[in-house]
């Protein structure tokens, strides 16, 4: 990722002070490779090297930093005073410490010992910057049995296909499928197994706490070339072209729905009109939506489309019919 075009002078300075020691320890590294590892474009790296070339502890030629990248290999010299990285800043120390502590809690992680050693060294190296780290606690994900998670990881490492018995509560289905596992992702508080599903013939995310059974099969589990990892930057929800847009009125008591589901738009309803929210969301599958509205018991209302509103009403009426037989209902 190239730095933002509006990188400030101080942000660039911080980046350069990290870049110099990294390059000093990798004399002769390929320019393109260095740019990739440093997370900048080749043009940016060249501009950075040109800038370094102009700087020094004095302005005599032998006092300036040497930077050479002719022939595509990078050499940086005469930079002894900044040949070691600047100490970790608070954000830098906190991210790594909080991340390591969260890793410690990952169920079935074999590397816990390495985590503890890294944490001890990091805390001593970071000094004061590490102090506030205990005021940020992150739980990557809960749920999912440690044993199933470990089994899924082993299947990925060994490239084995797995058999899954998987429950989809939103549709109240138990399904069986063979999956070529790609990775185990912890995101938004849940563990998922991502893999190529031979039933759907597509990549799928399976929530680990809904996996009833996971058996490693003695079959090669290399995913087909068309299997690509999903970009999870916006979470696990993926809108599809055939989605229906649904407008929901959420009365006070049901506004949590807007936090919990991926809604496209949210509008406040003034208190004198009853309060709450009007939201829109997109979905291909309306079964979960009917279930949600039965659960909300009237505090959530489908405004559009009318056929989904009718399905909600008819389903609730069928459910109520059963209670004629329950004494006292």
């Amino acid at each position: 990722m190239p730095p933002a075009p509006h990188e400030t002078a101080t942000a660039r300075l911080a980046r350069l002070l990290t870049m110099v020691p990294w390059l000093v320890n990798r004399q002769g590294i390929d320019l393109v490779q260095a740019a990739a590892d440093l997370g900048v474009s080749t043009e940016q790296l060249e501009a950075d090297l040109r800038l370094l070339f102009l700087c020094g502890y004095g302005q005599m030629p032998d006092e300036l930093i040497e930077a050479d990248w002719e022939g595509g290999r990078v050499f940086v010299g005469n930079a002894d005073s900044i040949a070691r990285p600047l100490r970790l800043g608070v954000d830098e120390a906190v991210t790594l410490i909080v991340g390591l502590r969260a890793l410690r809690e990952v169920p079935g992680l074999d590397e816990r010992d390495a985590v503890d050693r890294a944490l001890a060294k990091l805390e001593s190296a970071a000094g004061d910057a590490a102090a506030p780290a205990h005021r940020v606690r992150a739980e990557v994900a809960g749920g999912g049995s440690p044993e199933l998670l470990a089994r899924a990881r082993r299947a990925i490492a060994d490239r084995r296909r797995v058999y899954l018995r998987y429950v989809v509560p939103a549709r109240d289905e138990a399904t069986e499928r063979d999956v070529d596992p790609m990775r185990v992702v912890g995101i938004d508080g849940q563990w998922y197994l991502e893999g190529w599903c031979h039933r759907a013939e597509d990549t799928r995310l399976f929530r680990m706490d809904r996996v009833e059974e996971l058996t490693v099969l003695d079959v090669d589990g290399t995913p087909p070339p068309e299997a690509t990892e999903r970009d999870l930057a916006d979470g696990t929800f993926r809108p599809a072209p055939d989605d229906v847009t649904v407008t929901l009125r959420l009365l006070p008591g049901a506004t949590w729905v807007a936090d919990y589901y991926a809604v496209d738009t949210v509008r406040d309803v003034p208190a004198d009109e009853g309060g709450g929210l009007v939201v829109t969301l997109r979905t291909a599958d309306t079964a979960w939506l009917r279930r949600l509205l039965w659960r909300l018991g009237g505090r959530g209302v489908v405004l559009e489309p009318a056929d989904i509103a009718a399905e909600v009403r008819e389903g609730a009426e069928r459910a109520l019919a059963a209670y004629a037989a329950v004494p006292g209902a």
């Binding site: 101080t10 739980e139 109240d172 999870l232 930057a233 509205l293 039965w294 009237g298 459910a319 209670y323």
Partner: protein, 337 residues
Amino acid sequence: MSSPSGSGAPSAAQTKTERLLNLVLVLLYARRPLAKAQIRQLVPQYGANASLEAFERMFERDKDELRELGIPLVTEDIDALWEDEPGYRIHQRDYALPDIAFESDELAVLGLASRTWAQASLAGPAAQALRKLRAAGVERDVDALIGIEPRLRTAEPAFDAVKDAVLRRVRIAFGYRRPEATEVVERHVQPWSLASWHGRWYLNAYDEDRGAPRVFRLSRIAGSVRTVGRPGAFEVPADHEPEVMTRTAAGPPTAQSPAVVRVRQGAGHALRRRARTVGEVDDTWSLVDLDYGDLDAFAEELAGYGADVVAEQPRELVDAVVERLRGAVAAHGGGEA
């Protein structure tokens, strides 16, 4: 500062980066504290032609910005005997990251810890920190752990401001929307800690308006977060445990009660998984015994199964489910209307 013009002329930001880098190099190289006049000579970007006043203003700002970056620029007496002008330098021992050698498995978990933030607002600092720790290592930066990717997200707009306030112990004020209230209420708090739980970020704080500790969900903070006063303005109680406070407030444990529900064959999978016993009634129905915590939450769950699940016992559970279903019918144009 003169405004550069013409092709290839450095931008103002470029000139400033050069000036700051030269300043750092000069102060790190110095064996004794340097007077301002010396610094002005050694750092050409301060411009020999600028007025003394302009130079001093620029230098003061630069000092502050370097310190903001965590560079330990100190003021020392140049010569205690006869000069009262202060001198400036940066001590290498305070500047440089201590020399620590990480084993390759330690670097691998550090890489994983850093990438945990890859989709969060702290991705930059996390990557920068890892690069610093790996600077001395000569091996290729490989990512050894296969197949597992923990990810933290910070989708809440208030995250960065609240995080800074927690780390620096600065009091803050913000608008907060309570779960079921429409109006936003201004809150003034001493931010103690941040905790993520079940995929959401929570702020544990001392609420100055209520005079008591409170937990706030970051996604319910409306608008901007304002800082009040200086860093280090309050102490966090020594026995404060972030995750305990968040979990206690976000999900209080409730006592379990027994229930009996009738579940259609081939349905109610999540209920069957939690069942104490499942008895087969006939080809259509099973009878499932299970425990529930919160009556309303369980009634909601059962209502969600529609005609596939019928609550049988206890009586208050049956009533609660029926009430929800009737509410759903009425809200969607059914019932008496």
